[in-house]
Amino acid sequence: MALSKLENLYRQMILDHAMHPHHYGFLKAASHKLELRNPTCGDVLNVQVILKNNKVAQVAFSGSGCTISQASASMMTDEVLGKTPQQIEKMVTTFSKMVTGNPPQNYEEILGDASVLEGVAKFPARIKCATLAWKAIYQALANDQQESTVGFMRHDQ
């Protein structure tokens, strides 16, 4: 049956994260925050970070979205804890390459559990869902004004 192909996308770990997202909520004293919107579907994602000694000490996300975007956001928050903005930037580009079908050799090492989202590469319409949270943390860290800004994913991203 054709739906069996869906299992490549909706792996059990992804369904678990979407159902019980990690670090869901808000941080009171965020040092960096950003709201990112995906204009094609209207999804909105908030990401908040507390950076201490140039490392992510706490992170949280909120918003509603599809299974892929929620699971990806949840996994992203797991993976970025304790990382520096420089490391995160590398993770974001690696993630982006992975879901567009060009993962670098050591992508599993760089992305940890989030590499389970590699199946997205076979579902081009869903790449934006997967990358939303990663773009959000990247832009949040680049935004050190401490105030919430709104970002948009462009059509070509």
Partner: protein, 412 residues
């Protein structure tokens, strides 16, 4: 010999393919319709035999191209029962038509404090141009409310349309809820108050008989691509006396009458709006699409789609966990059906249906204020056309059940 409705499907080569190893079931017709051979052949013929620029040459090809280009104006006029061919302005689609009314008629007739009245149902292309016009002129943009089932609330319409109203602009058929608005009633209301009635015909023109005189509209815009013509061609119809004193928006070749060093006179409508080389092949394709629809008969198209809705709507409502937006009475619901599955985001639903070969749209359908009104972020949407059949509708129902099953066996 009149063909049976079931026979038209064979005219659409694109439908005869598999997607993700399943036979394609195309249910995204509200986004764009597929093209029959007759339309593609008309365009090919034009390029192979008649291609030339129109209105600009004495040679035979130019003359032929011009004749075909202008003949389509007559076809369109007849198709929507416009009183005159000279009221048919070619555009690139509904969006351009509505923008032109806002930018040309609007900026010369609307002043600060005037009201522009639209509804919560509107597509962004019948909303943002008015929002911009309001911003520019200091006019006030007001919204007609909807009844709980998504139908236009006529009490609210009577409240919102006042003597200050300059423009009322409504969609004839919703691209989300499947409701059809009583344009004639609203037009009467608008005219009582001295306002004009603008109609977005993007979702109605392809599916049932349109009569711009009977509905008493002042402007009517539609897109070719939703009625099987190519993309990039559409029509704005307007009453002669309104078009006559509207300033053109694009200046250049074609639209001029006489150009001198410091001043220019323009052609009359519709040509004064058609600056530059037009989408001639698109116009030819539009003509072929109208011929194709006319040969079937719009009444038969409508009846066929209604029969499918009569099956599909109750079948969807019967599936536990399915929410259908808009009226639940098939008699009040056109072939655009938006729905959600409990606990599932419509994007996940659309991906799952795609794996079953079923193409539906998921998202906000360019109607974010309506999504807010419905209190959802997005919906899935299945939309029918004349080549869809009962098997397509049944396949959608089966695929939705399978999708539910799939996600139920996960942890969701």
């Amino acid at each position: 010999m009149v063909k049976k409705m079931s026979e038209y499907r064979a005219d659409f080569p694109i439908l005869n393919q598999t997607v993700n190893d399943e036979p394609l079931v195309y249910l995204d017709n509200a986004a764009t319709a597929q093209k029959p051979r007759a339309v593609v052949q008309a365009i090919t013929n034009y390029y192979y035999h008649d291609n030339a620029n129109v209105h600009r040459g004495v040679h035979t090809l130019a003359e032929r191209a011009t004749q075909e280009f202008e003949a389509v104006r007559d076809k369109v006029a007849k198709f929507i029962n416009a009183p005159s061919r000279e009221e048919i302005v070619y555009t690139k689609g509904t969006t351009e038509g509505l923008n032109w009314v806002a930018a040309s008629y609007g900026s010369t007739h609307v002043k600060a404090g005037d009201e522009i009245v639209i509804s919560y149902l509107e597509h962004h292309s019948n909303l943002v141009p008015w929002q911009q016009l309001a911003k520019k002129t200091g006019a006030i943009l007001k919204y007609i409310d909807l009844l709980p089932d998504g139908e236009l609330d006529l009490t609210s319409a009577r409240r919102q349309i006042t003597d200050k109203t300059a423009i009322v602009s409504l969609t004839q058929a919703s691209n989300v809820l499947g409701v059809v608005n009583p344009i004639k009633k609203i037009a009467a209301l608008a005219h009582q108050h001295g306002a004009i009635m603008v109609v977005d015909g993007a979702q109605s023109t392809p599916h049932f008989k349109v009569d711009v005189q009977a509905m008493d509209a002042d402007f009517y815009a539609f897109s070719g691509h939703k009625l099987m013509a190519p993309t990039g061609i559409g029509v704005l119809w307007g009453k002669s006396e309104l078009l006559a004193d509207m300033p053109p928006l694009e200046f250049g070749g074609e639209m001029i009458d006489w150009v001198q060093l410091q001043k220019t006179t323009f052609k009359a409508a519709p040509w004064k709006f058609e600056g530059g080389t037009q989408n001639i092949a698109g116009v030819i394709g539009l003509g072929a699409a109208i011929d194709y629809l006319s040969a079937i008969g719009m009444d038969r198209v409508q009846k066929h789609e209604q029969q499918l809705v009569n099956y599909l709507l109750p079948a969807l409502l019967e599936i536990p966990g399915v929410t259908v937006y808009g009226p639940h009475d098939p008699a009040k619901h056109s072939g655009v059906i938006s729905f959600n599955l409990a606990g599932l985001h419509p994007h996940d639903v659309a991906t799952a249906l795609d794996m079953e070969g079923v193409a539906v749209r998921a998202g906000h359908h360019c109607a974010q204020p309506l999504m807010e009104w419905l209190k959802v972020a997005a919906t899935a949407r299945a939309s029918l056309y004349l080549y869809n059949n009962l098997a397509d509708a049944q396949k959608l129902v089966e695929a939705i059940k399978a999708t539910k099953e799939f996600f139920n066996h996960g942890t969701i």
